[in-house]
Subunit: 340 residues, 2 copies
Amino acid sequence: MRIVLDGMGGDNAPAEIVKGAVEAAALTDHEIILVGKEEEIKNELEKCRYEGDRISIVHADDVITMDDSPVKAIRRKTESSLVKALNLVKNGDGDILISGGNTGALVVGSRMILGRIDGIDRPVLASIYPCLGGDPALLVDAGASSEAKANNLLEYGLMGSIYVEKVWGFENPRVGLVNIGTEESKGTSVTKDAHQKLKEAPLNFVGNIEGRDVPFGLCEVLVCDGFVGNIILKLTEGLAKNILKLVVSKLMSNLKTKLAALMLKPQLMELKKEFDYEEYGGAPILGVNGPVIKIHGSSTAAAVKNAIIKGIPYAEENVVDIIRKSMLDLEEIIEKGEEE
Amino acid sequence: MRIVLDGMGGDNAPAEIVKGAVEAAALTDHEIILVGKEEEIKNELEKCRYEGDRISIVHADDVITMDDSPVKAIRRKTESSLVKALNLVKNGDGDILISGGNTGALVVGSRMILGRIDGIDRPVLASIYPCLGGDPALLVDAGASSEAKANNLLEYGLMGSIYVEKVWGFENPRVGLVNIGTEESKGTSVTKDAHQKLKEAPLNFVGNIEGRDVPFGLCEVLVCDGFVGNIILKLTEGLAKNILKLVVSKLMSNLKTKLAALMLKPQLMELKKEFDYEEYGGAPILGVNGPVIKIHGSSTAAAVKNAIIKGIPYAEENVVDIIRKSMLDLEEIIEKGEEE
């Protein structure tokens, strides 16, 4: 298998990307292709003293920056590392793409260059949601499209379920719909309709999940539109970071508690890990004709390595083909239902 | 002024409601009218040894329960404490209503019995959002309607701004629109449109607020639809409670840290207060022809007392009239804009 890395994507590119690739190469037999400015990447590889033959470079002259407008950038920057990397996957010269670059460009580029899987109306960006004291959940949509129709939410549930089963290895994952009440009758016209569709779909639907239950691992797949998904992810991030900060500042507020707090420091640091997304790997784009994984723009080498290792099953387990087949099955089910 | 209390609304009614009324009566010269089963309320008043003459009872035979369907209950249970209490305000025999009963019935009843303020398309339930380490914000809509048009969001901003200024006493409160990015171009078609309308409205609009910034007091009024508002409130509640629980369990995990944690217990308990909604009073319903305040169904006497005392300015400062006038002004502004 050939893993394609966007060597220029992210704040710490290419240094951390290359380091992560070298670390991953020690853990897997797959080939790694770094796409980007050859000289810079070579330099970084030399710094890492990499002497193996499983990392190669494909030169790309241009870079899509964080400020670039996604659609324009994909159309015009044909020599960019991202466009070249996507084309490697499209043409069968790479089996999976991992990038820490401009999220919008990665989503749009995946749609435009790899194309949608037949039957999928809207490819989507999923994200790992760190549940408290347990396994994470896959949140779909994490912000690829702010609006969604009921059918889109159904697609999100189906694709998320397949991904979590094949890539995370959870059997028969539970799928929940983020909503404002547990009753079927609650929500907008879209969530009410989606509830019915998910209930009838061939997946393990556990019903509506309220905001207060989102962090508590009631299901492995959380389905919502991109607006709500974005708010959930960012609110959780903001609250977690700052509640822990508040705890520390309260504890450090006087000498007596300061001493006690210093004793507790290792435990408090451990808590931070509960919210560390990087341990679980990157965020998949689902519904396009090829496995694509987004990593955080500020990813360290360790996060890059994790994303590579944890992402491998996305390609190896043929998740894209399974999604394609499940869409055909779904069409049959719907047609059969209409005939009856 | 006459403050009307739904004596039968909530899990702890009438006991805690009556106790709260007695506590409030010691702090204010206003009259308090308790609406509900006369015998039960009298009993509770006797238990409190209340001997003043500023608390009176209006008998109501029936009660709207938490399981009642809102519209049906308001139409059919005409002898319920809630319907009788709303009619007191409608007929000028009461100046403000405070209830801990069925939220849906309170919102629907307020719309049906008091009626919408002219120019308001959709009355709304606002809620107090506890910002970390600072003043709270008013979140509008907290779940009265799951969907909203851009004009509704504009109304929410205007009413929220007036309420926070007059009832909380914050001059020129900052109004923010909950959205998935800070740029004007971000969001759904509704939030994009609402952004422009809020920008042009006579209020202190500070732009879009992202999920991660919601808890940090960047504005005093947070505008969003009821779906997003419900998710934000419940997710915050769930996360805050459980992050603190996680902190305590981590700290208690071994003997050494257990001793240190016990020393820190008072500080940890103080943290809980940061998320205590009750201190700030109840949640106003905005946009109806009379001041109505919702308190939590599980409110204690202290929360009832707080809601009464903090709610007084909603009636005393003529907030309803000010909203009515601002709607007329807004119409003029819009008409003038269209003529130009």
